[in-house]
């Protein structure tokens, strides 16, 4: 091991991602809409956190803030703090702009529509590889891409690289997406409902594959899902989000052994298993859903000073 400077030691101990008191308000013609309220969460190096909530609860909005995408839109107010490693990204886009696609990457729900229909898979690998190494040659890029495709068990890498997305199956596209997300060896991957557009067996296989690859590299993951069953299988720690606010925060074991928030209990009661299609059937609202955040013991973000 090479001797590390003080800064990198600090950086290694710091959370890969630390979100504090994040609020997001969309300005719409019908008035302001508060999509996120006082959201605080963190991801430690090598850790996989789950973010669970119903459709419209604000999961993707968090993902878009973490990647700096929402900040580039108009008619939206973002406040609070979002740190990547030690860098604050709210208020200064420069760091996140150079980080995304390189240190931070994203896996989209529907790979078929997230890949560009008019460029070959090979072209898209090349562009992503150029994010880390702008001068990489086409031959070198394709060589790296071939290895990455072999990692996701796509056995005819040359055919895949020469294909357009519509020539691949949904499962193959999702594997391509995973290979793309991992190819620059990012510190953090945001996976927003990966594969939920696939049929359940293919989805399960893809998720396990993703989990293996990520585990081997010790990449940190923010795993977004509306399916507690999926989260149970893949996350170390879970945040439950309800209408833009985190309502419960626990390790996966704690959450399933001892769900405390009324909303989490309702979600658990309606849990679909990974091999089942469908959205949990949670009651519209009961009074307890609005209860404040419940954080289980030992889940707090370790402060830098004490680390």
């Amino acid at each position: 091991m090479s001797p590390a400077s003080a800064a990198t030691v600090n950086e290694r101990k710091a959370a890969v991602l630390a979100v504090r008191s994040l609020s997001v308000t969309f300005q719409s013609p019908t008035g302001p809409f508060e999509a996120l309220r006082n959201v605080t969460l963190h991801v430690r190096p090598g850790e996989k956190i789950g973010l669970v909530g119903e459709s419209g609860s604000g999961k993707s909005t968090i993902a878009r803030v973490v990647l700096g995408l929402l900040q580039e839109e108009r008619d939206v107010a973002v406040s609070g703090s979002v740190r990547l490693g030690l860098r604050e990204i709210l208020g200064d886009q420069s760091f996140i702009r150079e980080s995304r696609g390189d240190r931070v990457s994203m896996i989209f729900q529907d790979a078929v529509s997230a890949l560009n229909p008019t460029f070959t898979i090979g072209d898209q690998f090349k562009e992503v590889l150029r994010r880390r190494n702008p001068t990489i040659s086409t031959a070198a890029a394709l060589r790296r891409a071939r290895v990455a495709l072999a990692d996701v068990y796509l056995h005819e890498p040359d055919r895949v690289l020469g294909s357009y997305v519509f020539q691949l199956s949904g499962g193959m596209s999702q594997r391509v997406m995973i290979a793309l997300a991992l190819i620059n060896d990012p510190d953090l991957i945001v996976a927003d409902e990966p594969g939920s557009s696939l049929d359940v067996t293919v989805q399960a296989r893809t998720l396990h594959l993703m989990n293996d690859l990520i585990g081997r590299r010790r990449t940190s993951v923010m795993f977004i899902s509306h399916n507690l069953g999926v989260v149970r299988e893949f996350a170390d720690r879970v945040y439950v989000i309800y209408r833009g606010g985190i309502v419960e925060h626990a390790t996966t074991a704690q959450l399933f052994a001892d769900p405390r928030h009324p909303y989490t209990r309702a979600l658990l009661a309606a849990i679909p298993r990974l091999d089942q299609r469908g959205i949990p059937d949670v009651p519209e609202t009961i009074p307890g859903f609005a209860d404040p955040l419940i954080e289980h013991e030992g889940c707090e973000e370790p402060s830098l000073a004490s680390a």
Partner: protein, 342 residues
């Protein structure tokens, strides 16, 4: 055989059928509109015997199917018949006037593509900013003003008041036309290595081409903008942003190529429609082109010349459409690979 080649062959075969249909239709229409073509050609002073002789010579006394058969044999030999009026082969007349019109149309098409598309792309990239608003207003003005009005406006402002451009014609009277090789003055003067003629012909070409192009530029800018804005909402653009692709690269490549597909299709129709608008622009700028010739032959009921002119225009239209479809296939891999099946 690649699907693309097969499609091309299909399209060419279909085009021949269309041309046969157009020729039949025009052949009949030219003969049923009122007026005796032989009498019109020879003028009021010709004797009945002379008129009768011309009729016999041109088979005008025969039933229309027989006349058509004669015409087809003529066309098969590579001719388009003879003008009743100028007494020259129609092919020769068209060869004289067509290049002027094509030069005008190609110049206008180039302007539509080179101005309309970039304006649309930039408008979409900087949407809802000042430049976008100006571009959109400009586009609407461009689209909603007829080409001949643009002709008159441009001529008044730039040729008459400011005297920056010549008022009419293809070339200054003091310059001899370049040796005819393609019939395009711009190309022929390049081939002849004659810089002075080249500049003068471009100078003459600019205003009429712009007048002809204005509507297409506006239309193309609007369409490109709409298609780009639509494409920006697609998940693959969000993905491009999430992976940090540079904004200019997204706009010029990753959003541009998918957005171009619907634009190209309409663009092909717009450019083909230039043929129709060219006539008015040609009259405003005294441009010696085919459109003017076409109207002249209709007024003279010059049978073969009418059919020949329409055939050439139809052929140009079909070629433009096939060219656009090929371009669309190049841009859109989905069509390229499905080509044989489509």
């Amino acid at each position: 055989m690649s699907p693309l080649v097969r499609t091309l062959i299909h399209r060419l075969a279909a085009s021949l059928v269309v041309l046969a249909g157009v020729s039949m239709l025009m052949f009949v229409v030219a003969r049923v509109i009122p007026g005796d073509p032989a009498r019109i050609a020879l003028g009021p002073n010709a004797t009945e015997a002379q008129v009768e002789a011309l009729r016999r010579e041109r088979h005008l006394d025969q039933p229309i199917p027989v006349q058509y058969w004669e015409y087809v044999r003529e066309v098969a030999r590579g001719n388009l018949g003879n003008s009743l009026y100028s007494n020259r082969p129609v092919r020769q007349d068209i060869a004289q006037y067509l290049p002027a019109t094509l030069e005008l149309i190609f110049a206008a098409a180039a302007m539509i593509v080179l101005i309309g598309i970039p304006v649309g792309v930039l408008s979409a990239r900087y949407r809802r900013r000042l430049g976008d608003h100006l571009g959109r207003v400009g586009s609407i003005v461009g689209v909603s003003t007829p080409a001949f009005v643009w002709g008159v406006i441009l001529q008044l402002v730039f040729a008459y008041f400011w005297r920056l451009f010549p008022i009419e014609g293809r070339l200054a009277a003091s310059l001899p036309p370049p040796p005819p090789i393609t019939g395009f003055f711009v190309i022929d003067s390049v081939l002849a290595g004659d810089g002075k003629t080249l500049i003068d012909s471009l100078h003459h070409l600019a205003l009429p081409a712009l007048a002809l192009a204005m509507a297409g530029i506006g239309q193309t800018a609007r369409l490109t903008r709409a298609s780009m804005v639509e494409t920006y909402r697609k998940p693959f653009i969000e993905m491009a942003h999430a992976y940090g692709f540079r904004e200019a690269r997204i706009s010029n490549r990753y959003a541009f190529r998918p957005a171009l597909v619907p634009v190209l299709t309409i663009l092909g129709l717009d450019i083909a429609a230039l043929l129709g608008n060219a006539f008015l622009v040609e009259s405003v700028f005294g441009w010696p082109g085919l459109s003017r010739y076409g109207v002249e032959v209709i007024l003279h009921k010059d049978l073969d010349a009418i059919v020949g002119t329409v055939l050439i225009i139809a052929a140009a239209f079909l070629v433009a459409n096939i060219a656009v479809d090929l371009l669309v296939a190049v841009v859109n891999p989905r069509i390229r690979f499905a080509g044989g099946r489509a």
